[in-house]
């Protein structure tokens, strides 16, 4: 998805940066960069070789994440099947109960789905995200269940949703999971929360946004935990800070859990609750976005 600088790109970018420093001390930064370092040759080599060298460093991490992602997607397919069967059988209450928990498996690994072309909009688009004629997936059925209060006409969408879920399972084998994907994926998961869940816009009919919220955070935390050894080696203070911010956010989320293992609907949250959650999320996402430091330059 990103963060794979080729060597020429790095060099070009550097030259552009220095050129843009303009008239004052034009040559100096470049000189600093290449000559004042005591280990010039070694440093340059490391820089150039960083992506190749790091792939091995992160082999454990990427394998762990692949296992995690596949187990989540397996669970996603299983739970989606139960959900779609309830929809097709016209069992409204059961379908409503299965809806949000099934989605959590998806929300935990959403960046993987987003890396797979059109699958994310097919499964997870909200009304208005795509042309109306192309709109399908969870939120289409959500609208049926909660707003239109019927499963009529939903069978077709249920079938397609299950097909798309199975397609995701098949395609996940083809995703090239590297450390760059993990690093950006963690931040993207929190951005997902920031952009739609925290405002209650994701689940506009069912108001089950907190399920997605929690799942996105869990997905990001999983990546953090997988990368923790690498991060602790590179920047222990950052590793500690991120851990604390996860703890703080989870503490803010805890009171909204219900006894049955679910979460209260989003309309139960006060304005202050929403703002505090949003601000805690930003406080976590900012240091989390520094995790790219483990990838080198």
């Amino acid at each position: 998805m990103k963060a794979r600088y080729t060597l020429p790109a790095v060099l070009l970018l550097s030259s552009v940066l220095f050129a843009a420093c303009g008239n004052k001390e034009e040559a100096q930064p470049a000189a600093n960069n290449t000559q004042t370092s005591p280990t010039t040759a070694a440093a340059t080599d490391t820089k150039a070789a960083a992506p190749a060298a790091s792939a091995a460093d992160f082999k454990d991490a990427t394998e762990q994440y692949r296992t995690y992602a596949i187990s989540e997607i397996d669970a996603f397919v299983t739970e989606t099947e139960k959900f779609t069967e309830a929809v097709k059988a016209g069992k409204m209450d059961e379908a409503k109960k299965l809806y949000a928990p099934a989605r959590m498996h998806y929300e935990r690994i959403e960046p993987i789905a987003e890396a797979l072309g059109n699958l994310d909009p097919d499964i997870d688009a909200r009304q208005g995200d795509v042309d109306d004629k192309d709109w399908r997936g969870f939120h289409k059925i959500e609208q049926g269940l909660w707003e239109k209060k019927t499963t009529d006409g939903m069978s077709e969408y249920a079938d397609r949703l299950l097909q798309d879920a199975k397609l995701l399972r098949a395609k996940v084998e083809t995703v090239d999971i590297d450390a760059g994907l993990l690093v950006t994926g963690a931040v993207e998961l929190l951005n997902e929360v920031s952009s739609s869940k925290v405002t209650g816009e994701e689940e506009r009919y069912s108001h089950t946004d907190l399920y997605d919220f929690v799942a996105n955070v869990e997905g990001a935390q999983k990546i953090y935990e997988i990368l923790k050894p690498n991060l602790a080696a590179k920047d222990p203070a950052l590793e500690k800070q991120i851990g604390e911010k996860f703890e703080a956010l989870n503490k803010e989320l805890a009171p909204f859990a219900t006894k049955d293992g679910g979460y209260v609907t989003y309309d139960k949250l006060s304005k202050e609750d929403v703002r505090t959650l949003s601000q805690n999320l930003d406080a976590l996402a900012e240091p989390l976005s520094q995790m790219g430091t483990i990838l080198g330059v």
Binding site: S194, S195, S289
Partner: protein
Amino acid sequence: MSKKKNDEQQLNPTPDAGQESASLFRKPVSRRDMLRLAGASGVGLLLGGSGAFGIMAATGATKQPASDKPGSPDNVTTGIPDANRYDFYGQHQTGITTPSQNFMCFASFDLTVSDAAGLKSLLQAWTRASASLMAGELLDGQNENLNLPPADTGEAAGLTPSRITITFGAGPSLFDHRFGLAGKKPAGFGDLPPFNGDNLMPEWCGGDLGVQICADDMQVAFHGMRNLIRIARGSAVLRWSQEGFQRSTESDPNKATPRNLMGFKDGTANPSVQDAAMMNEVVWVQPEDGAGWMTGGSYMAVRRIRMRIEVWDRSSLSDQENTFGRYRVSGAPLGSQHEFDRGDMEAKDTSGKPVIPMNSHMRVARGDGKMQILRRPYSYSSGMDNTTGQLDAGLFFISYQRSLEKQFIPMQQRLAQIDALNEYIQHIGSATFACFPGVRQGGYIGDTLL
């Protein structure tokens, strides 16, 4: 500044003379000048009448009443450099191909008058006010009568016009049944269609009339907007308004392309406003475009685009640059050296992927490169979003074009579908205005329509 003087005078009235005589004698210099002017022009004695300021305004020699301290800096209102003011009257409205000023105030109005006569008198009053505002003069009317609120609200007294421009346009709703204008609605002019990902809020959309006020000084721009709103009271109400800014010309001696709040240069691909033929091609409505009253005018698209500032701030540089398809520092297309390089759309990196990503903003906006618009955006910051505690800031997008249907809409449809930037922005507001052609001396805004 002049207000301060008045306050002092009012706080220290001559004890035995009373308010009235204090008023009568408080500005000997100014009054002498007026008497002389009145006599010379044969108008007669108009002391205290509404004509007095009319004369002063008409001479263009004063911006505010001469004070009782001749030579005080407040008083120096002549010799405004031409570079600082634009003529209100002309073939086209100003504020369209005018080089962007530092600040903007935008006001969208709903009319409360119910007939064309009411609309016409509002537009005539706005015309008079706009001519004064752009000349840097006090608004015409009673500005000294202690028994009346001053005609001009006063906060721009002593300030230069600061290149203020005021640009008026008619919204699609103006052409409903109320004013008998339904038959004059230009073909293809209307509200913008829904675009993918829109999150429009009614409180940031539409309006019967739109007014864009730009100036190099925020207080001058605000003064313009405020006085137009005041004049409209009883005829139109404010529907929404937005202030905007960009880096000031003073802080950018190199006159580089301004950067938006994402830190990227914005407007690199804009056509040159110096190129008159290009402006006729892209911006100004031509006689063959239909709706004759719009010839010489331009269609304005307005989008209030909120940036997900917090999300953007935590995106890696490579994500940011791939999103725009340009380098952040230089503004050059990825793979190119200079800002104004066209960019190699065919170039592939070592892994075979396009150097300029297929969904990058620059690539998608360009399309086949055949259609252009004139972008004239400002950044905005409207404090905090009370729901999330995040910044409510972004881009107040304005563009001008001959045709919304042929230029803006197809471009925005492409962008709404695949632009990588969509992850970081949200379209909150939307409006379109048919901006009238310029006003000739003696005419008024919109006189080709009414």
